[in-house]
Every structure is written in structure tokens, then in C-alpha cells.
Symmetry: D2
Amino acid sequence: MSADFPRPDTRYRFHVSYGETDCMGVAYYGEYLHWFERARSQLIRERGLSYAEVEARGLYLPVREASVRYRRPARYEQELFVRVGVSEWGRASVTFAYEVWGPPEGTVLIATGATQHACTSLQGKPVPTPEWLKDLFRAP
Amino acid sequence: MSADFPRPDTRYRFHVSYGETDCMGVAYYGEYLHWFERARSQLIRERGLSYAEVEARGLYLPVREASVRYRRPARYEQELFVRVGVSEWGRASVTFAYEVWGPPEGTVLIATGATQHACTSLQGKPVPTPEWLKDLFRAP
Amino acid sequence: MSADFPRPDTRYRFHVSYGETDCMGVAYYGEYLHWFERARSQLIRERGLSYAEVEARGLYLPVREASVRYRRPARYEQELFVRVGVSEWGRASVTFAYEVWGPPEGTVLIATGATQHACTSLQGKPVPTPEWLKDLFRAP
Amino acid sequence: MSADFPRPDTRYRFHVSYGETDCMGVAYYGEYLHWFERARSQLIRERGLSYAEVEARGLYLPVREASVRYRRPARYEQELFVRVGVSEWGRASVTFAYEVWGPPEGTVLIATGATQHACTSLQGKPVPTPEWLKDLFRAP
């Protein structure tokens, strides 16, 4: 487990589904972005808001950049977890970091990644990162 | 080719992608509903409107029922086509029929299916099937 | 809750993700087949085997038919559960039944569905439904 | 159009489907990796081989890294194309570069990206980049 991973964080646990695998027998590379999003939503929810409520406040967080480093394949039925936290706050953006861990017992690093999100209005205009959003992620 | 397939129809052609396959080495069963939708959109577009324009007129066509009969597996890189047409008009609904054909030369029936759509307002209230929608599908 | 739903059953719980929604603001109709599959895998796993182990025994369960009846839309972040059980055993097939329930508290029926699976060898040849598979689903 | 984009290249054209959009009304960020893969497959196919044949020769190209820079949203029904070419050859790897262009007339840059692939055996062992693979991409 990476000791310097950003806090607060959360761990989104799931089994790799059949529909997420491809004919090489492993999880398809595009599915990781879905996993990242589910972990991100869980993190925001655990901080006391939901992303739906974030949008209801007029704040949108469209993805500007996404990257994934695939280290080990993940297979059908394996139990994985995605660890996620905020790694950087920009003036009008926020960056999340991700680690995907797999069996045995979540000790094998499957992948790492990051997504950078702009802070925008519904119309897509950049807005300064709100303090209430940053406050959400202040520990504990 | 089914002689009694509804007209007008269209054929949506594509190659099975890697991401659409699963670890059994064949196209995942959920992907067929995506293929049906792309074929349906192409049909509406070819009739002179787009589904985006249908919605811009205040008409929504949410799916009420979907069914697929899987006859032969489809594999990565195979060139398939989906044939689609309107099989039935209801008072406040429309039903599309589908056939998926594969190699060699689109002579093998891969799957058949149907989707029934309600005609609704943006708020989801049922509305009578508009005449202009039916007119779209009158041959030629 | 349907009183006559087949037993043993299980309930697969999850939140609707952003990537599962479409521009109508609701869960896309093709995603339900993914949810059904995850519920099915969980059911088999809870009965003491995993579908990966079923395949390791040389038994494959490709989908022959799938159908969904969409009753209410499901939205981003809603907590849903899929109830699944075996509704019918054929000579060389098995049918699963599904119900999708949503908020508040899983009291609203979102969708129902069914999938029929052939029992086949790796090569796709039909094989009689194995007794050990039926035994898995004998209560308790 | 980027003048220094690697050659030979190809352009994979398609319409954004309903199932690829999300409740923000735009194409979901994970779909871009599917589009990249379809463009990549088309490029290899146009060079005279298919990726299925590449695998039949015992060469696998699992993705090691993927990145996307999202510049403009893409919407339902828009006609897009993905331009793809090989941007770099490593000793046991190959990197593809991508540009996604949208309306009007494919003049607006929607996204850019890259995927780096290892060259491996079926068992996942690294193998030197085969000369026949490089030859495929020598112009014209």
C-alpha cells in the first residue's frame, strides 16, 4: 500500500464482471475509467455529499485529462478495490489519484491512474474551485 | 434474408470491436442492445430526421421492452450488419424489429430482437404516436 | 416484493454510476444486462461455486435469450438491487429471473427480466443440464 | 489538422451513439478508449493484416499506458472521426497517437490521446518488436 497516498481516501470494492472482460481473457482497458468514476463517486458520497448534489449546487466537474498505467491484468471474478483520493487542487480544477489492487487479499498493484477535472458552471464556463468543495476533503 | 422483414429498413454495418468481446471470446450479450440502438438511429436519420431532432420536437421514445434471441456467436473483427425496421405502431408506442447478420458475406443469422418504445413527453407522460413520426416511415 | 419469486435467490446491491446513464438522464437500457450478469454471478458464488469454476468444469452457459421490461427509469447515484433466482430448468438449459428494485428503500419496481442459457461444452455443443448444477440451487 | 501527425494514418468515422452519452449530455470519458481501439483496429486492417491475425501469429499487444486529453465535449448524433498513427516504436513496445475531430466538417479538435502497448507472447512475456510489424507501417 502506498504510504504517501493522499488522504482522506476510500476503497471501492467489486468483482470483475464477465462483461468487463475481453477476448484476451482480462478486464478491458476502457473499464478502468468506469471503476475510477465509481470510486470517485463513493469518495464524494462518504465525505457527506453526493456528486448529484454537487451538480445540484451548479458545480460540474468534467474530466479534462485521464491517464492509466496498466501493471498487471485483472481477470473475471477477481475481487479488486480502487483506492482514490484528491492529489491536487488547482485554481479551477481538482485532480484525483487512483490505485487498483487485486488478489491475493488486495496485495498486488493492478494499475495506477489520475483524472483532472475542471470546475465549471452548467454552461461549461470555468469557475474558481469552491471552498466548500475543498472543505469536504479536509480530514478527518 | 427474411422476406417479410418490415420496410422501409436499413442496414447498419460495423466490425465487432475488442471491447465488445468477453472472456468466452465472443461478443458480450449486452452489446447487442447498443448495436440495435445505432441501427435505429441510422434508420431514423435516413428517413430524414435524427433522433436528436425527434427529441427537439418534444417527443421521447424510452424503451419499454427489449428482447434478444442469440443464435450464433459473433467474434472480434467480424463484419456484421444489423437490419432494422418498424414492425408495429401502437396508440402511444412503436416497436422496432432487428436481425443481426454475419460472415460469410452477411449470410449467417447471428441474432434477432425487438424493442418497444413508449411515446412520451420530456416529463415522461404518454402521448399519442404522432402522425409525423408515422409519416417518416411510409415508403419509399 | 414478489412473493412467488424463485428461491434460493440473492440481491445484488449497487449505485447507478455516471457512465451507466445516458443523455436522457437515466440508466441506459443496455446496462440492465450487465446488472443481471453481476447478480447472476453473485448468486452462483453464494451457492458455493463461482461461474469461473463452472467453466473450469467444462460447462459453459451462453445466453440464448434475454428480455427486459423497463417499468420506471433509474437515475445516477440511486441505490438499486437486482434480485435473481433460477426460474426454470430445461434438459440442456437454465433460465434466470430478475427484478430490479429502487428507492425509496428498494420498494419501487424498476424492471423485470429473464435470461435463458444453454448448457454447452467449451466447443459450444449442447450438454444435458448437470445434476451438480441443479444441486447447487437446491435450498437452503 | 495536425501537420506533423504520424503517417501512415487512418480516420475512423462514426456517429456518437445514445449509449455512449451520459447524464451531462455528452460522450462519457471512458468511451474514448473504445473509439481509440476501433480506430487502431481499422489502421492495422488497412495495412493488410487484422489484429486477430497479429494474435494468430503469437503476438499480443496489451495496453501498458493510456491517456486522453478532453478538449471539447462530443454530443449524441455528432459525426466524429478518430485519426490514428504509430508515434513511436520501442524495443518491445509500440505507441499509437490519436486525435478526435468533430463538427462542423471535422474541423474542431475534440480530444487527443496516446496508448502504449507492450509486445508479448500469449503468456504475457515481453518479446522484441517484430520487424514484420514495423514493416506493416512503412509507407505507403
